[in-house]
Subunit: 122 residues, 2 copies
Amino acid sequence: MISEAEAVVMEVLWLHEPRSAEEILAEVGPTQGWQEGTVKSLLNRLLKKKAVQAARDGRRYLYSARLTREQYVSQQSKGLLDRLFGGRVAPLVAHFSEQRKLSKRDIAELRKLLEELDDEQR
Amino acid sequence: MISEAEAVVMEVLWLHEPRSAEEILAEVGPTQGWQEGTVKSLLNRLLKKKAVQAARDGRRYLYSARLTREQYVSQQSKGLLDRLFGGRVAPLVAHFSEQRKLSKRDIAELRKLLEELDDEQR
DNA sequence: GATCATCGTTTACGCCTGTAATTTTTCAGT
DNA sequence: ACTGAAAAATTACAGGCGTAAACGATGATC
């Protein structure tokens, strides 16, 4: 499984691939306060975990994701759902509702989503 | 922050408090395959993290949660939401919908939930 | 071809985690 | 008070993580 710091690197790859280590550092260094060596280490760990791949480009490598964001999001989401909500979505949403964490926009979008499901249905 | 193994211990405390280490072991040992020392260690770490408290009861302690399940669930859920869905609930639900992970029951419950929100509204 | 700057690779290191074994403390009974 | 069982506290230890420094390879330059 991929760690949180590793996920930060993946996110920038998912935005735009392939990228060199230098480009990734430029993207992520300022926000995270990471040095070059840190990014290099994370990339190597991701390589070892087969979450990214590297293609030589002259003296450097260009990295791209092998793990898709969809796959990652699914793993993480299912993990949380299973651990905390008995694997069901409605209780999760109910939780946020009780917490008053549903925005107007969320509610509108959820409504539309349910309508669309309704349409598919019939 | 509390780890996954620690969360397993918390879950049994949340079901019924307070409990002795022995009772917790009885609950969790078989399912997790943990020895006595393992549970004791986890309890001590949870004490250090102030997630549980212990009250002497003769030669042993009775443990109870200080962190509530609500607090824990909120932290975890918000963490996932922020990291993966821009902090918004609707995209999370959309994700599960696309993944065909919404059960009939989920859909029915979500519908009811939205109706209730509607009622509060007016 | 030797040298320097650049990448990448290897090693480091302290903290957290999972999983105990070991040691110490504490009652209960003699 | 002394001993033994039971509980708790301390220590252990390997692997992962965050964060880099050190080392090595490689291509560009003189």
